[in-house]
């Protein structure tokens, strides 16, 4: 109940904001009858109506995980974001090994297999991508072994 209502509310707000920003779209002198604003506004309106339906007639709430699992999910999210930033400056191997180990540990909390998984995946995938598929990956940051 509550989760659907909350989600409906978020969608409603987003849809209204979306419509509002659609009204700000610049139009050019070359104008077709519909123009660049109408379709986004239509989409926003349909979303807003559906969100209202969800608020009025919510489904039963799903089973949300407990606080600890949420913590694990949040850590995974942070790690993935950090990985996205780290890939360029730190090369492929180190960030991949660390990220894969942490993800593996979050799925099955045993430290040693997780570390081996991370290291194995990082080196295995590097070899696969670099030599079999010929992608231009950088293994280590420049200057580390120079």
């Amino acid at each position: 109940m509550a989760s659907d209502r909350l989600f409906g509310l978020v969608v409603l707000m987003t849809a209204l904001a979306y419509i509002a920003s659609a009204t700000q779209i610049q139009t050019s002198f070359l104008q077709d009858p519909v123009g660049p604003k109408a379709f986004p506004m239509l989409v926003g309106a349909v979303a807003a109506i559906s969100a209202l339906v969800m608020i009025i007639k919510p489904d039963p709430s799903p089973q949300w995980p407990g606080v600890r699992t949420f913590g694990a999910l949040f850590i995974a999210l942070v790690v993935l974001v950090a990985y996205a930033y780290a890939l360029k400056p730190f090369g492929f191997i180190l960030p991949t090994a660390v990220t894969a180990s942490i993800l593996s540990y979050q799925i099955s909390p045993r430290a040693i297999p997780a570390v081996f998984t991370g290291a194995g995946l990082s080196i295995g995938l590097f070899v696969l991508f670099k030599y079999a598929l010929k992608l231009g990956l950088v293994p280590f940051p420049k200057g580390l072994f120079a």
């Binding site: 139009t27 519909v34 379709f39 297999p113």
Partner: protein, 501 residues
């Protein structure tokens, strides 16, 4: 005959050693992808697309590889359904209902071979159907103007929302989410940016591959973290594998009926393989009646959903190739592949690029035979691969997704977007909001708006033009029916729960 000469052209392409090799590799990868729980056809094909792209395959080769993966995944899904009682992918859910009980009776080998043969029959008949239907539908599609296309896109969203999900409002929100995202970027007509919030990274729009990989592959990781990999339990043992000729003969009519039903379900825009296997199973169950013993591990219950599911997989290619409207989640991903390769599906594809279409159809026929050969004698090998634990598989999938998306654009912004889509996918699926309409919206949003705007240019702004032809009116009626009717049929169409041991 026309079809024969076209097929000859197709086979001349498909039988080249290189294409043949791609088909075999695709079948092999596809079966593995389908078999592994957590990797289904849609996310499997999605993570492979960027890699294919960087390999620099030409259009025909890339398409042959990916459709072989697609067909292969449909075969592979049954393996974990039968042995672990975990559907390897969503359409294989119905196979657990009789496949797992049959395996528990010590007939795992029989169930695997039988479902493999049923898959072959379904996929084979559907490919024949495809090669007859598709050119014909392509002819009809020449009659479509912008008004008809607009109505057709609407129909796809409505049937997807109505038939394939449990709550219309949620499906509509998902479609709008996708359509809304598709609007971001530079407007083709005026050349001015829309809804980018001034962010330079968004000026090109959001790449659908980023969204697909995020929603399908990254979201899966979050689900496995939530479940702590509990889903990777060990199921029943596979003993000797022999061909159960008697059972195969027994289910011959079941396979035919299920294939026909699945094919039709697949053609419906937006319905897809899950609906195909569901309808096939339910209709066979009612034909067999109470004495049929469905749910206790009978041969018909194993054959019906597999024929239906594979036939629907072939059927879903018909609207994707002829109209550019995908019939399922995975064909939406294949459509993304076509768009990335700069191929516009639709009637002109058949006249402009016959080598792509007929090469594809011929390789599907070949892939199907390869898959039968692979899946019956080699089934033990795939069973061994199933034992890869989730704590190795899922981090691997994530890393491959990152490399794939990174190799497309080399921008960390796309990676961040992908993670964001992953988190979004987790929340959406938690709330039972379907994610396939989001993908369809991102893929088709631009085309849908374009159709509307061109229709209005033609009619000088008269909205009634949208209802001006019988074809368009038919689509509108079907769209409304497809969206509304399931509300009243919920009781009948309710999906049965999985066997809980």
């Amino acid at each position: 005959m026309d079809i024969m000469s076209n097929l000859a052209l197709g086979f001349s392409i498909a039988l080249s050693p290189y294409t043949l090799m791609l088909a075999v590799v695709g079948c092999f990868l596809g079966t593995i992808i389908g078999a592994l729980p957590g990797l289904g056809p849609s996310n499997g094909v999605a993570i492979l697309i960027p890699i294919t792209f960087t390999l620099g395959l030409d259009a025909t080769s890339a398409l042959v590889l990916m459709t072989s993966v697609y067909y292969g995944a449909m075969y592979g899904g049954r393996i974990s359904s039968i042995l672990l009682n975990i559907p390897g992918d969503e359409p294989a859910l119905m196979t657990t209902l009789d496949g797992y009980p049959m395996a528990k009776q010590g007939r795992a080998g029989d169930a695997l071979v039988l479902s493999g043969v049923a898959s072959f029959v379904g996929a084979f008949l559907a490919t024949i159907g495809l090669l007859i239907m598709a050119p014909w539908l392509a002819q009809v599609a020449y009659l479509f103007g912008p008004a008809e296309y607009f109505a057709l896109y609407l129909l796809a969203f409505c049937t997807l929302g109505g038939v394939a999900s449990n709550n219309q409002a949620k499906a509509a929100i998902a479609s709008c989410l996708g359509l809304g995202i598709a609007m971001i970027g530079v407007d083709d007509n005026s050349g001015l940016p829309r809804l980018t919030g001034g962010n330079m990274h968004l000026a090109d729009g959001i790449d659908f591959l980023v969204a697909i990989v995020g929603l399908f592959a990254i979201a899966e990781v979050f689900f496995f973290i939530e479940g702590h990999g509990k889903n990777s339990s060990i199921g029943v043992k596979l003993e000797k594998v022999v061909v159960p000729w008697r059972d195969i003969w027994l289910v011959k009519w079941t396979m035919l009926r299920a294939s026909l039903l699945g094919f039709v379900a697949g053609i419906l825009p937006g319905a897809g393989a899950s609906l195909g296997s569901f309808l096939a199973y339910m209709s066979e169950k009612s034909i067999a009646g109470k004495e049929g013993g469905f749910g206790t591990g009978v041969a018909k219950g194993v054959a019906a959903p597999e024929s239906g599911n594979n036939a629907a997989a072939g059927g879903a290619l018909v609207p994707m190739l002829t109209l550019g409207v995908p019939g399922s989640g995975t064909t939406a991903v294949l459509l993304a592949l076509l768009m990335t390769l700069n191929i516009t599906p639709g009637p002109t594809l058949f006249t402009d690029r016959p080598e792509v279409v007929w090469g594809l159809i011929a390789s599907l026929l070949i892939a199907n035979v390869v898959l039968l050969l692979m899946n019956v004698p080699l089934v033990k090998f795939f069973v061994r691969i199933l034992m890869v634990p989730a704590w190795i598989l899922l981090p691997g999938v994530t890393m491959i997704s990152f490399v794939g998306i990174y190799s497309l654009s080399g921008s960390y912004f796309d990676l961040l977007l992908m993670v964001a889509f992953g988190a979004l996918g987790y929340v959406l699926r938690k709330l039972d909001v379907p994610t396939v309409p989001v993908i369809l919206g991102i893929l088709l949003g631009g085309h849908m708006e374009d159709a509307l705007r061109r229709a209005m240019v033609l009619s000088d702004g008269d909205a009634l033009y949208l209802f001006s032809s019988p074809i368009a009116i038919g689509f509108w009626i079907a769209a409304v029916l497809g969206f509304v009717a399931p509300m009243f049929l919920r009781g009948v169409l309710a999906k049965p729960q999985r066997v809980s041991d």
